[in-house]
């Protein structure tokens, strides 16, 4: 196929900040991740700005509307307390944006899948390297398990392992906020010291309830992206090898040296 110059749809963009990738995803997985934390589905789709704004909106409005406390009461069977704590000023808008986020990430993944398929067939040359004033960026082979483990110990580190600077520090800063507000680490220490009752009273349910989704999302995202980087690395290498090391004439490879008129 004749290549478009410049490419109509590049599969990647590599910048100081890391790699942004046009690739296919399972729409139901995207839908599920958006349900677990608004904006996270967009992160997986490489729509980082939309994801960041939706996720910060989620934290602010959830805090104002007391959604997480209401969830804790609901799962504990205290429905009257759940109903009492919800703030009606914020809950309606919260729900609309929550479901819109799910709808939008699902809808976007369907379209992105079509565009990614077209980009795969166009197979534009992938740029594997970026050098700039503040950072080196390159596509390399990564270990998805290592990425997952990094994000398990501290959400954001797996993203940093994947060289995605903005999302990594966005994740790290938010995790520190959750840790500070929920007192999770203090509560873990109390638990290790055998003081279960103290540990439970220390915890702030509102901020604690953000953490499972953030942790799960960060692990999943880091694991997936590391694998996608590996595929990109293979793809780029194949393009390069085919471009540079297939110019030979048949006689230069298959005939004996003396017949092949080599220097």
């Amino acid at each position: 196929m004749k290549l478009n110059f410049p490419p109509r749809r590049p599969q990647t963009y590599i910048s100081t900040n890391g790699i942004t990738m046009l690739t296919r995803h399972n729409p139901y997985v995207i839908l599920w991740i958006s349900a677990s934390f608004p904006g996270f589905g967009h992160f997986v789709l490489n729509m980082y700005l939309r994801g960041a704004l939706l996720s910060v909106g989620e934290v602010i409005i959830n805090t104002l509307a007391h959604i997480n406390e209401a969830m804790v009461f609901t799962f504990c069977g205290q429905f009257d307390r759940a109903a009492a704590i919800i703030d009606p000023t914020w809950i309606y808008g919260y729900l609309i944006i929550y479901f819109w986020g799910m709808f939008d990430s699902y809808r976007s993944s369907l379209e992105v899948n079509k565009l990614a398929r077209l980009a795969e067939m166009e197979n534009a040359r992938i740029r594997p390297f970026n050098i700039s004033r503040v950072c080196l960026q390159y596509i390399e082979m990564k270990k998805p398990v290592v990425a997952a483990v990094c994000s398990f110990f501290f959400p954001g580190l797996g993203q940093l392992y994947n060289h995605r600077i903005d999302l990594a520090f966005w994740g790290i800063i938010w995790w520190w906020i959750y840790v500070g507000k929920s007192h999770l680490y203090d509560a873990v220490l109390a638990l290790i010291n055998g003081n279960i009752a103290l540990s439970t009273t220390m915890l702030d349910p509102h901020w604690l309830l953000f953490m499972p989704s953030v942790l799960g999302g960060a692990i999943y995202h880091a694991h997936l992206q590391a694998g996608d980087h590996n595929r990109l690395f293979r793809l780029e290498c194949r393009q390069y090898l085919a471009e540079r090391y297939q110019d030979t004439g048949e006689e230069l490879i298959w005939r004996k040296e003396e017949q092949a008129c080599l220097s």
């Binding site: 799962f75 439970t200 942790l215 996608d228 793809l235 090391y245 004996k256």
Partner: protein, 153 residues
């Protein structure tokens, strides 16, 4: 002499090709053939790509997240507290996801594919003078060749 080397796609592969060129081998004397590892080139298909094969990990993480939210919440009224119940619930959730994945694999009959370790992804052919054979072979072995062969003619 024709030297044949089989490699995985790594940065070392590019290094060895560049080194050979630097040591005076003509680019026209080398061919690198990217190999497909199944009937459809799996590198091109992100969904089916072995780089995306996560076993039950994907589904497991999804269910673990959901279960742990419930576990943490209920933990506030259970004896062991939210942290322990959150961990227990996420463990159970992960196993549930894993089991679901295994059932889906069984029902849809998706076959397990070979892992990405040491699959021959690129074949390199190098035509060289007999006196340079050892040098070329050594370079290939030093750069993570999976296997190296020589055609003696």
């Amino acid at each position: 002499m024709l030297v044949v080397g089989v490699f995985q796609i790594t940065t070392e592969l590019e290094q060895v090709l560049s080194l050979l060129e630097q040591k005076g081998m003509e680019r026209e004397q080398m061919v690198a053939v990217p190999m497909d590892l199944d009937a459809n080139d799996d590198t091109m298909d992100p969904i089916r790509s072995r780089d995306r094969k996560a076993g039950g990990f994907e589904l497991g993480m999804g269910t673990a997240t959901a279960f742990s939210v419930i576990g943490v919440s209920r933990g506030f009224i259970l004896e062991w507290g939210p942290i322990v119940w959150g961990l227990i619930a996420s463990g159970i959730g992960f196993l549930v996801g894993l089991a679901l994945h295994l059932i889906i694999v069984r029902v849809t009959g998706a076959k397990r594919e070979a892992s990405a370790n040491l699959l021959p992804e690129v074949t390199v052919l190098i035509r060289c003078q007999p006196e340079r054979l050892d040098e070329v072979r050594k370079l290939l072995w030093q750069h993570q060749a999976i296997s190296v062969g020589v055609v003696n003619r």
